[in-house]
């Protein structure tokens, strides 16, 4: 499979302090990949580097074989990288539908309608809430809007930053179920998570991220059954999460 996203020895951080150290990873077309790690491991920084929110201090990011260099975030989105940022970054005073529409603001009317229908198919709840201001939604609903808005850009690759943060276990399950459907429809997904259990049950391959370094890469099932990893990242979350039943 051809690599859609490739990171070669990527380093970077804030104000001269390096947070991400020479990270190399790849996501193949059609793959679902997770990077898991503890709070403060540099996961969000890594995504900010991929999205051009921060400048690289070393290495390079390639998308579909093209080096992205210093391309600004919006250009990366236009190339086909859908981005679900940490903290959701919704337009709080706008309705659900307005938020979604801005994701496809360059599309024609017919195209827009088609994409909206697709989102409402993936998240039927959003159709009922379409006139509601996003500020008034629950955390789970807001996260659905953010994912929906990113999908409205028609991405080839969807990148998610900690989508489970602040959500109840049941809602996390729903969200990942939607991601499973999208992935089985052919979308390439790269998710970064502290909730290793949820992410690794979804992904095919996983990277373990510690102190800004990649320390392991393995098939997700292997990582899920690794007692050491389960202890350090999955930990007490797993009995709770596994009570939701099979994926």
């Amino acid at each position: 499979m051809p690599e859609l996203l490739q990171l070669q020895q990527v380093s970077g951080g804030y104000h001269g302090r390096t947070v991400v150290h020479e990270v190399s990873l790849s996501v193949a077309e059609g793959e679902a990949v997770a990077a898991v790690g503890a709070n403060g491991a540099g996961k969000t920084t890594l995504l900010r580097l991929i999205m051009g929110q921060l400048p690289l201090s070393g290495g390079q990011v390639l998308f579909a074989g093209r080096a992205l260099g210093r391309l600004p975030t919006f250009e990366r989105v236009r190339l086909g990288i859908g981005y679900v940022p940490e903290g959701r970054a919704l337009f709080p005073e706008m309705s659900v539908e307005e938020n979604l529409e801005i994701g496809a603001y360059r599309a024609s009317k017919a195209e827009l309608r088609q994409r909206l229908d697709h989102i409402y198919q993936v998240f039927p709840k959003l159709q009922r809430l379409r006139q509601t201001r996003c500020r008034l939604l629950s955390g789970g609903e807001q996260q659905m809007v953010t994912v929906g808005r990113a999908l409205m850009t028609r991405p080839r690759l969807l990148i998610l930053d900690e989508p489970s943060t602040g959500l109840a276990p049941r809602v996390v399950g729903e969200l990942y179920q939607a991601l499973r459907v999208l992935h089985s429809d052919g979308l390439t997904v790269f998710v970064v998570e502290q909730n290793a259990y949820a992410a690794l049950r979804f992904a095919q391959r996983g990277y373990v991220f510690e102190d800004g370094h990649i320390t392991r890469v393995a098939p997700a099932t292997e990582l899920l059954h690794d007692p050491h990893l389960v202890e350090s990242y999955v930990g007490r979350a797993s009995p709770l999460a596994s009570s939701q039943g099979p994926a």
Partner: protein
């Protein structure tokens, strides 16, 4: 009966002055709402546009009908140049960013007001246009006030329509509400910021060229105008366009009626008193979330 007429006149004049203040604060509000930048040179833009209108009147007997479009265009270009030349080069994020933009626009304010002082000198000047008064039943209202406030309210309505009903306006609002969200929709947020700043500056130009028929200005008046405009938008909730409208009317009515009953100096004290009260009781502005850009 006379009592009622007096109250009516005060109310009407107050609302009209509110419109004028709104016009003078509009650009500042838009720029703050979208960019979180307080343009301290805003008042100087208004003053220079006013002085330019004075010069145009002196040279060609040209009234606001010519001066307004010229000043609007000129300050659109000034806005583009200031953004491209200065603001685009600094990191405006975080509390450090706010300080940087305050310092930059403060410096700009000094430069502009001193250049204006060299060109126009320090005397107060005005454009003697719309000097008659209109009789409305038993009430007499100055024409300059009527025209200025009409233009102000039309402009306020037009901007609100633009922000909420048009494609570009919605993209501007989206950028105001989350720049990261806008960028992750593929929006060129740098271009939106450029457009917003230029538009805000153009509005200051239009406001200056019009209100100089009502309020005489001199080269150094800019600082006071900025403070007045900032008070208004803070009262309305920074970057809140509905709140600004409400705050403008409130300030106008309070100023006009307190200066009628208590005298002119009490009027300006009253406005700051109310401003302080609002900061204590409702620091998010009169309307809070509602009506934010």
């Amino acid at each position: 009966m006379l009592q009622l007429q007096t109250y009516l006149l005060l109310l009407l004049t107050g609302i009209m002055w509110g419109g004028v203040y709104l016009l003078m604060a509009f650009g500042l509000n838009l720029i703050y709402g979208v960019m979180k930048v307080v343009n301290l040179a805003h008042g100087d833009f208004i003053v220079v546009a006013g002085l330019l209108a004075v010069t145009l009147y002196g040279a060609f007997q040209a009234g606001p009908v010519l001066a307004i479009p010229l000043a609007t265009l000129l300050f659109l270009l000034v806005g583009l140049a200031v953004y491209r030349g200065l603001l685009a080069h600094v990191d405006t994020t975080g509390s450090q960013g706010e300080l940087r933009t305050l310092l930059i626009t403060f410096g700009l304010s000094s430069i502009i007001s001193n250049i204006a002082l060299l060109i126009w000198g320090g005397q107060y000047q005005s454009v003697p246009f719309f000097q008659s008064a209109v009789r409305l039943g038993p009430l007499f209202l100055p024409e300059s006030l009527i025209v200025s406030s009409l233009v102000a309210f039309v402009l306020a309505f037009a901007v609100q329509f633009w922000l909420t009903r048009t494609r570009w306006g919605r993209l501007v609002r989206a950028t105001a509400q989350s720049e990261l969200g806008a960028a992750s929709c593929g929006l060129n947020t740098g271009r939106i910021r450029l457009l917003t700043f230029a538009l805000g500056a153009a509005m200051a130009g239009a406001a200056g060229a019009l209100t100089v028929v009502l309020i005489p200005v001199q080269a150094a008046s800019g600082g006071f105008v900025t403070v007045q405009a900032f008070t208004l938008i803070a009262l309305g909730g920074l970057g809140n366009y509905l709140g600004a409208l409400l705050a403008a009317i409130l300030l106008g009515v309070i100023e006009v009626s307190s200066s009628y009953f208590l005298g002119a100096s009490a009027a300006s004290a009253m406005i700051y008193l109310i401003f302080i009260l609002v900061l204590i009781v409702r620091p998010q502005g009169l309307l809070g979330h509602r009506g934010r850009i």
